[in-house]
Amino acid sequence: MRRRHRALISVALLLGCVGGFALLTSLSVGTEGPLAAGLARVGTGVGGIEHRLRERFVGPGRAAELRWFDRYRRDAALLRAPDSVLLGAYDSDLPQSLEGVASLERTLGVSLPIVQAYTAWGDRADEQFPLALASAIWDFGSIPLLTWEPWLTDFDNGRHPELPLREARERHGLASIARGDYDFYVDEWARQAAQFGKPIFVRFGHEMNDPYRYPWGPQNNTKEEFIAAWRHVVDRFRALHATNVVWVWSPHVAYQYWDLYYPGDTYVDWVATGVLNFGPIAQWSKWWTFTEIFGSKYQRLASFKKPVMIAEFGSLAVGGDRANWYEDALAALPAKYPAVRSVVFFHSASDQTLTYQKVDWRLVTDTAAARAVAAAINPWAPGPRLKQ
């Protein structure tokens, strides 16, 4: 009798352990453990509750101002072929606060329905799908545009013994992604994105044709490898039902042959590029007009028959008339460049692209330029005007 009890208890314990482990594993998020993932979910939940409380007691927030944008937020098809120019911004207060975006909006007098954030690949907690940030951007009334950078060296060999050593990963790293070596990460990110459920723009591996900037550039990879990696990633997302992701392909059009990196019509939803006028501050730059940077490439960009996004848009102040630069770029933009369907301001207070100095792209600190922008976009920017 006692022996039987013992056996029963042992079996029950064993089953309990297996069940417990299964539960814990199901709570975990890929490279994040159940603890971190559970806490992140609780934290995001608390944030959502607080947001709703605020709406209840203080009145409708920014999302109410963006009600006109709801038909885009609800309709992924419309988002892939929008009927107006959607404005947006990246602001360097992110990911701590969206207040910088709000302050830029007030300065310009229009809502910015797209909010861009940069997020890297890797093992660290801040390199997983940014659930809290995406939820906050959504509750704020916008759609997140996540620029997703495949830094392969942030994966730890201790946790991923099958990966090559760090220093060997970047050479043909994109081929490695295409082979599925990083599916443990890609799949989890895709699952989380699918779970998030609302539309998000993902700009993966941007400026893939710039040989000086990022490790996923042509110094380490061929264009065929980039295309294979892109297609593999998109296929993984589709297989995991992350169809809420809108794919933004974003080469650097200053370099030749950028169009050869195009992954194909069925794999791309938007075509994008950056338009940043560094002026004479950078050794490799001079004061370039919008037409010089973008206008000359527009025809080719538009030829893919996809909506075009200017994903990083801005001018520094040194070397020319900044207000004039913006006015020239934005006035009559829809008429001159009808394929352009989104302009995302690059609103960084201390950009470190130039290693020898930090530069400030902000408009809120430059009244003349901000006024020029507001005047130039006023005739065509969608949505109601905000009190300035």
Binding site: A36, G43, V46, S97, A102
Partner: protein, 513 residues
């Protein structure tokens, strides 16, 4: 043997976990504010180092084997009476002393100037010694009595402790070692069921008189604390008599060790006494001990430090710094409020990483705590989570803090014998620190809600809610514990009916009473 293996494995695991936590804790990117980070680190690592010292102690647990008492030793029992102590209690204690089997003489060291005390002593076959106007409360009388008596071994018994008949038989055998200076036995109580405060206070002592003292014993330094210590006269005389001060027993213990005397510990319940029944008495006892322990650490330890073995030094340093707990608890309490009101925070750590790194340490600590409960003196009644003891310990932080402050200010605290009878306490007088904390908490939560709803801009709200509400959760924990103290303070408004010793039947003492 098997038990020691288990302890060794658990301690090994725990120490690895501590190193893991250490490696994670002191990362440069965790420092949010250098000064505050230093303060937080001191609080956390003070606590952890005490836990680790406790583990080291557990590794050395040893239960000394019983030795039969030889016949013909000359033994005295000293017990003291002071003005204001209840006569009825002496009735029981002296009657029980008479029933102690090993031949001995009981002395009542009396300064009450009350003939009734002489009467009760003589009726119970005890020798009455009138010792009036001596310095140092209990210890002064003991030293005077030493001069008037000749016995070779002296059991110093607190008057509230009724000894069991077998007391001396269980103790005296150990003195066949010529270098043994004293034998300490466990302390247990008969009045702990009478109130929450008494239960909590008793729970705090279980571990100390069980595994902790046994570990100290294995380390060669079981400490004389409180009543029930049996001394060799030669040992006491070699250090000029019983020590005087707020922590007389600890002073005596440390001097004897410093003079090279050995000690041992008998982990048996051989008497039962009184523990403070009401929160006020408990606080008074604790502040006296806190002050006394610091006195030992500051004034006594440096003089004898060289005479102690390193293990004894470690033991006494551990005891001497126990009451710093009051300071570190204050720090823990303040940090969340500092953040919620000013935005200052000591560390920028991810909470999940903290949990992942701290949980193994906590798990090892809990496992050892529960495993070592097999060495409690009376495991049948003493096992458990001892949550009341924990509530009281945390409640006591203002008292511990006060003790620390008094020690630094070198202020005098009068010697008060531990209360023998519960005293009615006013609720507010006892509960004001907790009530203040709860009020501050309520105001802070209201402030946070107001700021979050009406001041914080929408763009900053959602992305900061994890940090803010995490801190609020951190501030909530001590508030929840405070309610246990409020209960104890509420309970102190009324005193249990009847004296605690009324229920004692001196003819049925012993074994498992």
């Amino acid at each position: 043997m098997r038990d020691r293996m288990v302890i060794a494995v658990l301690v090994g695991f725990g120490i690895l976990a501590v190193f893991r936590l250490l490696d994670w804790w002191f990362r440069q990117d965790h420092v949010a504010h250098p000064l505050l980070f230093g303060a937080l680190s001191i609080a956390v690592w003070y606590g952890i180092s005490r836990i680790v010292l406790g583990w080291v102690n557990y590794v050395h647990i040893s239960r000394p084997e019983h030795r039969d008492a030889p016949q013909g030793l000359r033994v005295a029992i000293f017990t003291t009476s002071s003005p204001g102590e209840p006569l009825a209690m002496f009735e029981k204690t002296l009657a029980a002393c008479r029933r102690v089997r090993y031949p001995h003489t009981t002395y009542l060291l009396d300064d009450t100037r009350d003939p009734a005390f002489r009467d009760v002593a003589e009726r119970n076959g005890a020798v009455w010694l009138e010792l009036v106007g001596l310095p140092g409360a209990k210890a002064g009388k003991i030293n005077a009595a030493l001069a008037q008596t000749r016995e070779d071994f002296i059991l110093v018994l607190d008057p509230d402790h009724v000894p069991f008949p077998e007391f001396l038989d269980r103790v005296l055998g150990h003195f066949d070692d010529e270098r043994l200076g004293f034998v300490q036995v466990s302390q247990a109580y008969y009045n702990q069921p009478r109130s929450f405060a008494a239960r909590g206070a008793a729970e705090q002592t279980y571990g100390f008189y069980g595994p902790v003292q046994m570990g100290l014993c294995g380390l060669g330094g079981s400490v004389a604390i409180g009543a029930n210590c049996t001394f060799r006269r030669a040992a006491l005389e070699s250090i000029g008599g019983h020590g005087i001060g707020l922590a007389e027993d600890l002073v005596t213990s440390i001097r004897l060790h410093g003079a090279g005397w050995k000690s041992t510990y008998v982990p048996e319940v051989l008497s039962r006494g009184l523990i403070p029944e009401d929160l006020g008495s408990f606080y008074r006892q604790q502040i006296k001990w806190a002050r006394g322990v610091y006195e030992v650490a500051f004034a006594e330890l440096p003089h004898v430090f060289r005479g102690l073995s390193w293990r004894q030094r470690l033991s006494y340093l551990t005891i001497g710094t126990f009451y710093l707990f009051g300071v570190t608890t204050l720090l823990y309490l303040v940090f969340p409020y500092l953040y919620l009101w000013t935005g200052l925070q000591p560390a920028s750590m991810r909470f999940d990483e903290f949990l992942a790194n701290a949980t193994p340490v906590g798990a090892a600590g809990a496992a050892l705590y529960f495993f070592c409960q097999r060495w409690l003196c009376d495991p049948r009644t003493e096992r458990g989570t001892h949550w009341r003891g924990l509530v009281l310990k945390i409640a006591c932080w203002p008292v511990f803090f006060g003790g620390t402050a008094l020690a630094i200010a070198r202020a005098n605290v009068p010697y008060i014998p531990t209360a023998k009878e519960a005293k009615r306490g006013r609720f507010l007088r006892l509960a004001w620190p907790q009530l203040t904390l709860i009020a501050i908490y309520a105001v802070t939560v209201a402030h946070v809600l107001r700021v979050r709803l009406f001041v914080t801009s929408e763009g900053a709200l959602e992305l900061s809610s994890q940090a803010v509400w995490g801190m609020v959760a951190f501030a909530t924990l001590p508030v929840l514990l405070s309610f246990g103290v409020l209960y104890a303070a509420w309970e102190a408004r009324r005193v249990p009916a009847g004296a605690a010793w009324d229920s004692i039947d001196v003819d049925r003492l012993g074994g498992d009473t």
